[in-house]
């Protein structure tokens, strides 16, 4: 959502209210258009948080089915983007909590067919590709970071993700997680403190 230019967002927003109203009146086509507008962001967030394509796909499915079922309850009191993100963050939090109890260590993404994929290897970096030692070093670093992130509580993980990686404002994060800006700020502080302790000495 942050990557879009102001013009693009303006174009998307103008007919959005119309689309929501049509979807509320039962139009599948209008709902499908809304899905197209938000699906990339939903998948990006779910994929980065869960580290698994399979989980991200499940969250996508459940989030949009919920949105379809409850779109009649949307009353334009917040932006549609906050509303849909609230659904997604709740599902992601549930998923993180389940994962936390299983204590699985995922240092890599798991794709649809169950194969493990190192996402760092897919990020283009000419220097490291030309230097295998550096590539290995980067891979190990990515794994350390993922482990450190998994040590956070689900809520700390979510606030850090939304702030650091998705660039949302703390006020919006508070709104999405049904809490105050102050609480979101404190959670971010705790998350950075823990991450620094976990990653001390890593450069």
């Amino acid at each position: 959502m942050n990557g879009k230019s102001a013009e693009e967002r303006a174009q998307a927003r103008a007919p959005e209210m119309e689309l929501i109203r049509e979807a509320q009146a039962g139009s599948r086509a209008a709902f499908d258009t809304l899905v197209r507008q938000y699906e990339q962001q939903v998948l990006r967030l779910a994929l980065h948080l869960t580290g698994s394509e399979h989980d991200a796909e499940d969250i996508y499915q459940e989030a949009f089915l919920k949105a379809y079922r409850y779109i009649g309850n949307f009353r334009f009191e917040c932006s549609f983007y906050t509303w849909i993100y609230r659904i997604v963050t709740n599902l992601c939090l549930d998923q993180l909590r389940r994962k936390k109890t299983r204590r699985e260590d995922h240092a890599v993404y798991v794709n649809h067919s169950g194969d493990e994929i190192d996402v760092l290897a897919s990020v283009s970096d000419d220097r490291s590709f030309s230097n295998p030692a550096k590539e290995l070093e980067r891979k190990a670093l990515g794994e350390r970071i993922q482990l450190a992130l998994e040590k956070l509580t689900p809520r700390e993980r979510m606030v850090f993700e939304l702030k650091h990686y998705q660039g949302l404002r703390l006020r919006t994060i508070g709104e999405m997680l049904n809490t105050t800006e102050e609480t979101a700020k404190n959670t971010l502080f705790r998350a950075t403190k823990k991450l620094r302790a976990q990653l001390a000495g890593v450069r």
Binding site: M17, Q40, L43, L47, G142, H164, R196, R203
Partner: protein, 332 residues
């Protein structure tokens, strides 16, 4: 400032969420406290380090697969039955009634009053008609069962639906029962909660841009005059109009109505900043720039103005925001 507070503020500052005044205090503390200086360096190093775990764009196959699965699931859903739709509508209406209990109560009382009065008048009129008809029939010596209207006596201009059709056995007579839509009107002061509720409804639900324009114009004038423009009522309606109305004239009126609350209400400020960033009409964006007043403790105004001044496609908007930034150094 003690070091504990400084540590918290270092984090908020690193993520661009610290007000300018507090940033200044923090800088002063950091200049004299090497321990907190190290803390900031460590945090900035963490931010750089975390870039080694980047956010990947979802693979096109994953998007296509997820979309397909969702479409299948949606196709398999049974269509919503009428009572489910009704219950959803009722839940919504109940929620909005909760938001405006006084207005809702008044509307209810008005409705019941108007209904009883109308019913009484209609009954009185019909009784008179029936009496006259019976008297005429008695005169002619042929008394027929009354209370059945004959064809041609009503104009079917506003028939909402037909509820039953029964043909009398072995005759050409047909009894049709139908319901009519009756337009209503209400007159009252702008301070009347019922009138306000109707204006708020009109500002969002009317298909006619003229009606929306009139209602938003009146509500905005009330807000500007400071007449009961509460956060949960009219102000919300104006924010919805500013964000979503298709007509730029309506949006402009909503913007003017919200002007007095830009300093005190964070949500108004957000709506104003969104208009500045996203509105399709440069006139409204320019008006939003001029309305944004010094807002202590909120850096978003300055950030948005900076971003618009540096990178907006419209050169006029760039110039105006630059002018505001240079003219109002105290804007936070």
């Amino acid at each position: 400032m003690n070091c504990e507070v400084a540590h918290e503020r270092i984090v908020t500052a690193a993520y661009g969420e610290l007000a300018d005044e507090q940033t200044h205090e923090l800088e002063r503390h950091l200049a004299t406290c090497p321990e907190c200086g190290r803390d900031r360096e460590e945090l900035l190093a963490l931010k750089v380090l975390m870039a080694a775990h980047p956010v990947a764009e979802p693979d096109a196959n994953l998007v296509a697969r997820s979309r397909l699965r969702l479409e299948e699931a949606l196709d398999a859903l049974p269509p919503m039955r009428w009572f489910e739709r009704l219950s959803q509508k009722l839940t919504n209406n109940f929620a909005s009634l909760q938001a405006a209990p006084v207005a809702a109560g008044l509307l209810l009382v008005l409705g019941v009053g108007a209904g009883s009065l109308g019913g009484y008048r209609v009954a009185e009129h019909r009784a008179g008609q029936a009496k006259a008809a019976i008297a005429a029939q008695i005169e002619r010596g042929a008394v027929q069962p009354a209370a059945v209207e004959t064809a041609g006596s009503t104009a079917p201009a506003e028939i909402a639906n037909i509820s039953s059709i029964v043909q009398q056995p072995n005759s050409h007579l047909v009894e049709v029962r139908y319901n009519q839509l009756v337009p209503q009107q209400i007159e009252g002061s702008l301070d009347d909660p019922a009138i306000r509720q109707l204006l708020m409804l009109a500002s969002q639900n009317s298909a006619s841009a003229g009606v929306r324009d009139n209602s938003v114009g009146l509500l905005a004038a009330e807000c500007r005059a400071g007449h009961g423009c509460k956060a949960q009522g009219i102000r919300d309606a104006l924010m919805v109009a500013l964000r979503y109305d298709k007509n730029s004239g309506v949006r402009e009126k909503a913007l003017k109505g919200l002007e007095p609350y830009v300093a005190e209400d964070q949500r108004v400020r957000d709506a104003m900043l969104e208009a500045l960033l996203n509105d399709s009409d440069p006139k409204i964006r320019t008006a939003a720039i001029n309305i944004l007043q010094p807002v202590e403790g909120d850096t978003s105004v300055r950030q948005v103005l900076h971003s618009v001044a540096n990178s907006d496609r419209n050169p006029y908007i760039r110039t105006v925001s630059r002018e505001v930034l240079s003219r109002e150094p105290e804007i936070q």
